[in-house]
């Protein structure tokens, strides 16, 4: 049987990095082929070779059994190969529809664009995806999750024979993931070959037919998904077994309150939010996409100050107008959008890790103690297993997951008393995820107060001592740790017009 795509002994080097070491990969028509591996294993690089973004240094690529040259993304598209890139490749100043149809605009005479048809076509795609999206909204104004939906819609619009999805669900919530899977199943039935990259193990189980695992730029093995247990795949990926721990809720009755938020609000995005957070506590925030969790975090952190309400830090009312104020008070915020809000991509790993703590490592003349920073950077690179040739590598050259680890390292080094992590494990592999969970638990044990916002319910459940749930800019309830998924979902979908009756755990309504 002729494979739809056959990649043979693909080799790719970057300065200082041997990213692909003779990797084989094949894709059949009508299958979902999961590509797994730790951060920096070479998954994205392999797929960029297949989609014409990179030219491999060695090996060959066959489509329908004949060797092809892929000198440009255009060439790949012409062969029916479409890709959703891990790092969103969108034009922020253009609208949703304009982004989707870029390069293939429906034209009228004189090079005019048929804007109406373009919008209608885009709307049709979103209708097919079961997503409510205005095709005329500028992409820059969307949250990262919704931008991800745009990327998916764009990839679907190509009607490709080969569809590569590089972590399409990293920013998505369970319900959106479910919608996406419906689409994927439909495409599979139509005979489309799909390469699916994800770090979410449960998804692999659910959607994939075959699984290929990569490690350190090498092909480890390809197995049938149906008869391979997840633990086996994990072992193939990380070379060891991982044990999954359950959350243990510590007794915090005598602990001091670190942060208290009262009646916080801003316009319609955030309404009358109140909660408190104790030292040593991990408070999880759950909610659907657009519930306002990010907005809340940004409001507390002073990135976009609230219109009303009080924030009390360590028992004292605080006035937080800028992030600098927040950090001075010992509050740190790890953004969900690392590319735009987390990293100075053109700077090296060391500088990024130090970015929030520089003055601490400088003398009175402002001289930076580079030696010490180097030691620290290497320490974090080791502890978080950041895959980089050295600590002076530019961050933009790291794989997505490794970039995320750099942002985490930045906030760990800053050593804040109150830490807000917004989607901290986005794009991070299972091994490293376990490591980060352990780190968060340790921090809590040291008496730090931690907020974790996550769209992955298992993550919220695995970490949180208490679980706050938001819906449409309101805090609909706070559940105790270990609550069931159903309880959370009930609160997450509690619309404003439905009277608030059910409460679980302590809820502050003001």
């Amino acid at each position: 049987m002729i494979e739809l795509v056959q990649m043979e002994v693909i080799d790719k080097r970057f300065p200082g990095v041997h990213a692909l070491k003779g990797v084989d990969f094949s894709l059949r028509a009508g299958e979902v082929h999961a590509l797994m591996g730790e951060n920096g294993a070479g998954k994205s690089t392999l797929m960029k070779c297949l989609s014409g973004v990179y030219q491999p240094d060695g090996g060959r690529i066959l489509v329908d059994g004949s060797e092809v040259a892929l000198p440009s993304p255009r060439a790949a598209q012409d062969l029916g190969i479409g890709i959703i890139h891990q790092e969103l490749a969108l034009m922020r100043d253009l609208t949703v529809a304009q982004n989707i149809w870029i390069g293939r605009e429906p034209r009228l005479s004189f090079g005019r664009i048929d804007e109406r048809r373009q919008n209608a076509d885009a709307a049709a795609i979103f209708a097919g995806m079961n997503v409510a999206m205005d095709p005329r909204a500028p992409v820059g104004s969307l949250t990262i999750a919704r931008q991800q939906m745009v990327e998916i819609a764009k990839a679907l619009s190509y009607r490709s024979r080969v569809l590569i999805m590089d972590e399409p669900t990293a920013a998505l919530n369970d319900s959106e993931i479910a919608e996406l899977f419906t689409i994927i199943r439909k495409l599979r039935a139509e005979g489309v070959g799909i390469v699916y990259i994800s770090h979410k193990m449960d998804e692999i189980r659910e959607i994939s037919d075959r699984v290929t695992v990569m490690r350190d730029g090498e092909h480890v093995g390809t197995v049938e998904a149906a008869d391979t247990p997840i633990s086996k795949i994990i072992t193939m990926m990380v070379g060891r077994e991982l044990t999954d721990e359950a959350v243990t809720v510590p007794d915090l009755t005598i602990a001091e309150t670190a942060l208290e938020v009262r009646n916080l609000g801003r316009g319609r995005d955030l309404q009358k939010i109140g909660f408190s957070l104790k030292k040593g506590e991990i408070l999880g925030f759950a909610g659907l996409m657009g519930a306002g969790r990010t907005e809340l975090a940004r409001a507390i952190f002073g990135a976009e100050p609230p219109d009303q309400g009080e924030i009390i830090v360590h028992g004292k009312p605080a006035k937080i107008c800028t992030p600098a104020d927040a950090v001075r008070l010992g509050i740190g915020y790890l953004s969900e959008d690392r590319k735009h809000y987390g990293l100075a991509l053109g700077m090296d790993v060391r500088a990024n890790i130090a970015l929030a703590s520089l003055p601490r490592y400088a003398d009175r003349l402002g001289r930076i103690d580079e030696k010490q920073l180097a030691v620290i950077a290497r320490d974090y690179i080791g502890r978080l297993a950041i895959r980089t040739p050295h600590d002076r590598q530019e961050v933009r050259l790291l794989s997505g997951g490794n970039q995320q680890k750099v942002v985490i390292a930045k906030w760990l080094l800053r050593d804040c008393d109150i830490l807000i992590f917004d989607e901290p494990t986005r794009g991070i592999d299972v091994g490293a995820k376990a490591e980060i969970y352990r780190l968060l638990n340790d921090l809590a044990a040291q008496g730090k107060a931690i907020i974790v916002i996550s769209s992955e319910l298992p993550e919220v459940l695995r970490l949180s001592h208490r679980i706050a749930v938001m819906c449409e800019g309101r805090l609909t309830g706070i559940l105790p740790g270990g609550a069931s998924q159903e309880q959370i979902m009930a609160l997450a979908t509690q619309r404003e017009d439905i009277a608030v009756s059910q409460t679980a755990g302590e809820i502050k309504w003001t």
């Binding site: 993304p73 255009r74 490749a89 969108l90 034009m91 100043d93 253009l94 304009q98 870029i102 390069g103």
Partner: protein, 325 residues
């Protein structure tokens, strides 16, 4: 619903962008009775025409995230080539018009090739062009102006008034008419056509456009060529106004045009911008210069006041957009 609100907001914003301009006009009218006279208003419009056309051309390039420093000397070079064709070779007027536009487009294409194919930063590519064209204009003309005395009707290109013939009360010079036609055309291109779409897309995220399979290099070159052609029109206008091609002219015009673009709200980072904004920016600058002159402000104070008002106008704009807390 939300979208409608947003649209209404945007429209209001555009209307408000006139605010600084209106304030200036009202202020000067109150300060001097000679300011708000038909002939002076026409003089202001006429003074806007060349800078306005240049600014519209460079708006295109700035939206792609680039910059063009050669527009001033390119304008001159186009004027010179027109002089060569019309006065020295004695060709008929339409050939001269075509020469100006073609010269501009070709030089723009060369700049575009430097930028797109040779990956030379736009600043350097067009700085090089600026110097080369400056020298070439002097070399071609032998450093002397070329006069258009032998081409009847040449001065009417900018100085005549088609509108004035129809409506004698509004003797809008043709140069201004041409400015508005160019503005309309470019606004249409930007808003409705594929070229315009790619202009914005390139400035927004060039890599993403390339990854979408678009031949970004070719489009970029097309945009530079278009901008060059527009500089050619500016060359015609200035030549017609001065009834001569002045080979030493042009240096410094790029700064003025870029200033008009930026005052008009287009970001030098690329990805956004409007022709209307540029037009308003250019008008603000010429109203300011003319008004201060009519008020007989001492020239050294004119510069100070111009600088201050530019800063204030843009600050007001930022306040309005809610960018400043």
């Amino acid at each position: 619903m939300d979208l409608k609100q947003a649209r209404r907001g945007a429209a209001q914003q555009k209307l408000l962008a006139f605010a600084s301009l209106i304030v200036l006009i009202v202020g000067f009218s109150l300060a001097s009775p000679n300011f708000f006279q038909v002939s002076n208003i026409m003089a202001i419009l006429q003074a806007t025409s060349v800078n306005g056309v240049l600014a519209i051309g460079v708006t295109l390039i700035i939206i792609t995230g680039g910059i063009d420093l050669s527009i001033g000397t390119l304008m001159t070079f186009c004027a010179v080539m027109t002089g060569v064709v019309l006065t020295w070779a004695g060709m008929p007027l339409p050939v001269g018009v075509l020469t100006a536009i073609a010269t501009g487009a070709i030089c723009g294409l060369i700049s575009g090739t430097f930028v797109a194919k040779m990956k030379i930063p736009p600043f350097i590519a067009t700085l090089g062009m600026m110097l080369m064209l400056k020298g070439l204009s002097l070399i071609v003309t032998g450093t002397r102006p070329i006069y258009f005395n032998d081409t009847p009707g040449f001065t009417t290109i900018a100085q005549g008034s088609l509108i004035g013939r129809l409506v004698p009360a509004f003797p809008v010079p043709n140069g201004v008419l041409i400015l508005f036609i160019v503005a309309g055309l470019v606004a249409w291109i930007l808003g409705r056509t594929v070229l315009g779409r790619y202009t914005f897309a390139l400035g927004s995220n060039e890599e993403a456009v390339r990854l979408s399979g678009v031949n970004t290099d070719a489009w970029k070159m097309a945009i530079y060529a278009l901008a060059g052609g527009i500089c050619g029109i500016a060359g015609l206008l200035i030549a017609s106004r001065l009834n001569s091609a002045q080979p030493a002219l042009g240096l410094g015009y790029e700064l003025e045009a870029i200033a008009a673009v930026v005052i008009g709200g287009t970001s030098l980072a690329g990805g956004r911008g409007t022709v209307l904004g540029t037009l308003i920016g250019a008008l603000i600058m010429s109203v300011l210069t003319n008004g201060l002159r009519v008020m007989s402000v001492a020239p050294e104070w004119q510069t100070v006041v111009t600088g201050a008002i530019i800063v204030i106008a843009v600050y007001a704009d930022q306040l309005r957009r809610g960018k400043v807390g």
